[in-house]
């Protein structure tokens, strides 16, 4: 199988703490992969290494068959990222944010209109980002994350700050993008039903390592659990 993303033996230490320890990870075309684990398991550090924000101490990251370090611009132009802890410039209108990011990703400005339509941002177009609700902000962030039609979308707890209704809308959108457009995704989340609904393959991380992998059904069976939530608790408390 040709992988969009192939990380091998990724390792990162911060002083005495090994945040990620020899991690192997792949994402195939159209695949939605979940990266789960308790706080401090190394999920965000892993994602940040895959995005080039953190340089690994050891190991390699290849995206689309290219080494991330050596082909940074080509690689980053084909992926995108959104996270609950990252924001956008608050004083800008929604449309201005999308226009700026269309330029930063060197895509036509017509993509801004596409994103406004896709994410139903028409009424918010001329609103400042800082005036929006959490759910509306998440939609704008997803607009930014989809502006370049990424081959791989990396999402770090995309629905963390959302109420159940807004969270469900975002999940539905992501599921639609994955199923209809075949967009590959790598997602971290603490919302187990979300992961169960969205992910083809799930990796559980603890102490910087992947300790279990499989589909939601495979993992619940192998852990003798009723659902993914129970698997999570077993992993976290092992």
């Amino acid at each position: 199988m040709v992988h969009l993303l192939e990380a091998r033996a990724l390792t990162k230490r911060f002083g005495p703490v090994t945040a990620v320890d020899g991690l192997d990870l792949t994402v195939g075309p159209g695949e939605v992969v979940g990266l789960l684990g308790p706080n401090g398991a190394g999920k965000s550090t892993t994602l940040h290494m895959l995005l080039g924000l953190i340089t690994p101490d050891h190991g390699s990251v290849e995206l689309f068959g290219m080494d991330l370090q050596r082909h940074r611009i080509e690689v980053l132009s084909r992926i995108n990222f959104a996270a609950s802890y990252v924001d956008l410039p608050g004083v800008l209108y929604v449309q201005e944010i999308l226009e700026a990011y269309a330029d930063l990703y060197a895509v036509p400005q017509s993509r801004v209109r596409d994103m406004i339509d896709l994410l139903e941002l028409g009424r918010l177009r001329k609103r400042r980002y800082m005036e929006l609700s959490s759910g509306q902000r998440t939609r704008v962030q997803l607009g930014k994350a989809l502006i370049n039609e990424p081959d791989l979308l990396i999402l770090d707890e995309p629905t963390a700050n959302l109420d159940p209704d807004a969270g469900d809308r975002v999940r539905s959108l992501l599921v639609r993008l994955a199923r209809d457009n075949g967009r590959a995704m790598l997602i971290t989340s603490h919302n187990m039903p979300e992961v169960e609904r969205m992910c083809d393959r799930i990796h559980f991380m603890a102490e910087g390592r992947i300790i279990a992998s499989g589909s939601a059904a495979e993992l619940t069976t192998s852990f003798g659990a009723d659902d993914l939530e129970e698997v999570f608790l077993k992993v976290a408390r092992r």
């Binding site: 080039g52 132009s77 802890y85």
Partner: protein, 268 residues
Amino acid sequence: MTALTLPARAQRVRGVVRRDFAALRRSPIRMFEIVFWPTVELVLWGFVTLFLQSQQVPFVVGFLLGAVLLWQVLQKASNEISIAFLEDIWSRNLLNVQVSPLSSGEYLLGLMLFALGKVVVAVALMAVLSMLLYGFGITAVGAGLVPFMALLLVMGWSLGLVGIAAVLRFGENAQVIAWSLVFVAQPLTGIFYPVSVLPEPLQAVAHAIPGTYVFEGMRTVLSGGAVPWADLAVAAVLDVVYLAAALGVFAWALRYARAHGKLSRFGD
């Protein structure tokens, strides 16, 4: 690869300028700030000039006002690119920028171009005010004006880059370095007085700063002398060295921030 073509690179640089310009347009306080400090400085030093004239102190009227105008070029060039970078941290947007295909060179070029725009507006405004309030026209500096400003602009950018590098290396607490670095140069650059008044060891330091040649040159021209092109050539060489060193420091600080996970923490 499409992402590496010149039009794609130009579009990304335009994206940085477009975003910063939109942020400026949406922020009345930031618009006001472009006008406020230059006006305060001009009015302050204008009155000092009038006072000295009334005391019949022998000096050329334009020295102080010309110095204030050119100092603004240096200070704004430095601070504006630092502020533009810090805005990304304050708005928790830095990670979005860093995971975009924008290269460091494109990002910095965008910041520099935006800073250039703000410098031009501020200096134009001060030049008009200076003429209206004190009858001093910046064109009195003559043919040297453009190279004077260009040399200060490049020096300011270099200091601004070092300020950004300090924030990348030491974290947000180092913002004070980004703000104040340019003021370290102020007493050494002979802005308001000739370098000859400095103690000899400091004079040697002053002559290693590009801005010194600009302010000395300005006083030469306003005293009726010719533009000291040879000195400006020295300043240009120093500017190249400063800019190269600043880019090197920035690249090192970015590598350090990535290696130590500091870039990620700006988003926390």
